[in-house]
């Protein structure tokens, strides 16, 4: 076989510039367009998920409150605008599903990763641009199928984003939300799995094979490392969820009994199933589900590790330990899934087998946290909005991570399982920390993506309102959990829960307030697109390859046909360079001349 030894690998993937509106803006194979499409999808998803959470919180605080317009959307679920218990559970299921899959797996990974990974490794595009385009449209299809379930007669699925069998597997007899809505849920997620696998394919291949000259693995930006590691986790995790969803669909529509045992009596009707195992669904789901939460947070690790040095004007403390910790977390993430199942009826002797690695995983997580904090030490931090969101990320990740200690131990989980303590934990790490990573990435990369700056003042308002707001929303949930407040309840009618309703009202008000604060972000986003101040080529004085592209946004092939040669690491800050206290990755090796970055002219 011949090898093209003369041309650098990137040139082998040269594709012609797109022509025409549709090929340029809609059915584009350009990873940058695809990345933006993913981000737009995630934006729609997060707005939807946020509205769902408002509806949930309003109902919990004021159960009889009629909500205007809701009756139109769901005449059965919200007659007169008052949310029924089953509709509450549907809203909750859709909230979780949309947020986990279409926001947290999409924005930081498929969105920003697609946009910036090829650029950061110095490639012209992803390894398989057409498969990349396909993966977006398949994701969009999955989203549309899920949203369609809002409009079916029986209502959307209500078994939670975790869809435990038999509730999710038996079909309509189990009640409202368990008809077509649940089937659509399973179909949507199965489609999503396929899209994710295609995405991982591109991320991994591009990182391994398309790095430009001089871009060794050791010089990869931390965000690229994080996207690469995340895509490996995703490859294995989604490859397991896909068959699980297929088996669930078969139980629902084809009369099989993978997850449904014999002898079930629902609504006084004996179900025809044979000896399936509900625990089998839990094992399959959580084997995916736990790595999934690391898929949600690791890009944030990478983004914070990438952005913090830029504004601290010093390198990341302990880069090898940070990368090693991310890899360790990836490995360990496959050994801990049973900590979701301590009380599930699985063999209790296996509890400690899962608890120990769960606790051990806190070690690499602690390492990266301490190293970030150590990076801030001794820095003259430039307190821009992205920097503030990085600091906020560290704070909320600490808060969310520490509550994990309680849930990782079976003994304390006996009390805290199924309570609001769990809700507090995963919202802090996923709903807040991961979101802060997305915000940091947005404010940081907006100038490169759109050639304009976001408004700093609005950004800071957004940060402060959100930072304080999220603590007001989610810190009290720990207290509710300690008091034994059960989660996934549509209303609090138990004697011991009624006194806690004022806390819920406080949380609801804080949630609405914090939600409203996001309007500042949305306004900033839209306004800056069209009226933001024009961005200089390298507004943050950062060193990685995305800041060496000839324009903002970069041209269709990223580097104008001249792939950069890399001679430096990703965070050479606080060192004397040609234009300041930094040296670009694409700058010539020391002593080879003083040109600041290839492509800058």
């Amino acid at each position: 076989m011949q090898h093209d030894t003369a041309a650098p690998p990137a040139a082998r993937h040269h594709h012609a510039p797109p022509r025409g509106f549709w090929r340029t803006h809609v059915f584009s194979v350009d990873h940058k367009v695809i990345g933006r499409q993913y981000l737009d999808l995630a934006l729609v998803a997060v707005c939807t998920g946020m509205v769902l959470s408002w509806l949930m919180r309003l109902h919990l605080a004021w159960p009889d409150l009629p909500i205007p317009g809701l009756a139109k959307l769901s005449p059965n679920g919200a007659a007169g605008g008052v949310i029924t218990p089953e509709y509450y559970l549907s809203l909750m299921t859709m909230h979780g599903t949309i947020m986990v899959f279409f926001v947290l797996t999409t924005a930081p990974f498929a969105g920003f990763g697609n946009y910036f990974l090829p650029i950061q490794v110095g490639a012209e595009d992803m390894a398989f641009p057409r498969i990349n385009m396909l993966s977006f449209w398949v994701t969009l299809l999955a989203f549309l199928v899920l949203i369609a379930s809002f409009f079916v007669a029986d209502g959307p699925a209500l078994s939670g984003w975790t869809a435990y069998a038999p509730l999710s597997a038996v079909g309509k007899d189990a009640g409202p939300g368990q008809g077509l809505g649940q089937t659509l849920w399973a179909v949507s997620i199965a489609i999503f799995c396929i899209a994710q696998l295609l995405g991982s394919l591109n991320f991994i291949t591009t990182t391994l094979d398309l790095r430009t000259k001089g871009m060794s693995l050791a010089r990869l930006p931390y965000s690229t490392w994080a996207w690469f590691i995340t895509s490996v986790i995703g490859l294995v995790a989604f490859a397991v969820l896909l068959p699980a969803c297929i088996l669930l669909i078969l139980d629902r529509v084809a009369g099989t009994s993978f997850f449904v045992p014999a002898g079930l009596v629902i609504s006084d009707r004996l179900q025809p199933h044979a000896g399936g195992s509900p625990l089998l669904w839990q094992h399959l789901f959580w084997f995916f589900g736990h790595p999934e939460v690391y898929i949600a947070i690791l890009p944030g690790f990478g983004i914070v590790s990438h952005i913090l040095p830029v504004f601290a004007r010093k390198p990341l403390l302990g880069p090898r330990a940070v990368i090693g910790s991310m890899i360790a977390i990836a490995f360990l993430s496959y050994t801990v899934w049973g900590h979701h199942m301590f009380l599930s009826g699985m063999n209790p002797f296996s509890a400690m087998l899962f608890s120990v690695p769960t606790l051990i995983i806190t070690i690499p997580a602690t390492i990266v946290t301490l190293l970030w904090i150590g990076t801030v030490y001794g820095a003259k931090l430039r307190f821009t909005t992205p920097a503030l969101f990085c600091l906020g990320f560290i704070s909320v990740f600490v808060s969310g991570g520490l509550s994990g200690f309680f849930l990782a131990q079976p003994s304390t989980d006996i009390y805290l399982h199924g309570t609001y303590f769990v809700v507090a934990h995963f919202h802090f790490v996923m709903g807040v920390a991961a979101m802060f990573g997305i915000f940091a990435a947005t404010y940081f990369w907006f100038p490169k993506m759109f050639g304009r700056m976001m408004d700093e003042r609005l950004g800071k308002w957004h940060f402060w309102l959100t930072f304080i707001g999220v603590y007001c929303v989610f810190m009290p949930m720990h207290y509710l959990g300690l008091a034994g407040n059960v989660r996934r309840y549509a209303a609090f009618t138990d004697d011991y829960l009624k006194p806690l309703i004022p806390v819920h009202r406080f949380i609801t008000v804080a949630a609405l307030f914090t939600g409203a604060a996001q309007l500042v972000f949305l306004y900033n986003l839209v306004r800056s697109r069209f009226r933001g101040a024009p961005a200089p080529a390298n507004p943050w004085e950062a060193t990685t390859l995305e800041w060496s592209t000839p324009s903002s946004p970069p041209p269709f092939d990223n580097f104008g046909g001249r792939p950069p040669a890399v001679a430096h690491g990703p965070d050479e800050y606080g060192v004397p360079g040609p234009t300041g206290d930094y040296v670009m990755q694409a700058a010539p090796a020391a002593g080879a001349g003083a040109v600041a970055g290839a492509g800058a002219d």
Binding site: L210, L235, G255, S257, A274
Partner: protein, 188 residues
């Protein structure tokens, strides 16, 4: 050190292999758990045509491997064995389609015995595993067709690379079938 000259297509196939392996690992563990979770597992005899199908599939790997080696040996040489390569790919395609038809016949044989998808967990897994494998094999057939067309329209390094990558995938799907047959004959 810059990234190696590894061909992205081949890397991609390896990644695909990893994912597909994980999916079938999940299905295997589902089978094992389901078999142990209730006493309702009914064993049945595998339709004998499966063994014939296996031989056909192994033969298809042989024809493809011969083509791949011929392609590798003749790289950079003046003679163009494109016709021979195409013949090998075509043979594999035909044998692959024969395999799929044989699988269809196996399904018919089971149905004739009254064993359908929902009849029993053992038959459920039989149908699911063979169907999912068949789907992946069909994907391989599409790849083979593409390689055949490519070798004809635009022979060269890229076409040969595609042949190599497809051969890798095809051998994997073949090996996967041997594994599935073993599991099925041991468990079903």
């Amino acid at each position: 050190m810059a990234s190696s000259e590894a061909r992205p297509v081949e890397t991609g196939v390896w990644i695909g292999i990893a994912a597909i392996t994980m999916s079938f690992a999940a299905l295997t563990s589902a089978l094992v758990v389901r078999q142990g979770s209730a006493p309702d597992w009914q064993h049945f005899r595998l339709p004998p045509i499966l063994y014939l199908n296996t031989a056909v599939l192994l033969a298809s790997s042989a024809t493809l491997e011969r083509a791949r080696r011929r392609s590798a040996r003749s790289a950079g040489r003046a003679d163009a064995p494109e016709a021979a390569l195409r013949a090998g790919v075509a043979a594999t395609l035909v044998l692959g389609m024969l395999f799929l038809s044989g699988q269809g016949l196996a399904w018919r044989a089971l149905a004739a015995q009254g064993l359908f998808l929902a009849t029993n967990p053992s038959s459920s897994f039989f149908y699911v595993l063979t169907a999912v494998h068949g789907l992946h094999l069909a994907g391989g057939l599409v790849a083979l067709a593409y390689v055949w067309v490519r070798l004809r329209r635009r022979p060269g390094t890229a076409a040969r690379r595609a042949l190599g990558a497809t051969a890798l995938y095809w051998h994997f799907v073949d090996g996967l079938w041997v594994y599935l047959l073993s599991i099925l004959s041991l468990r079903v």
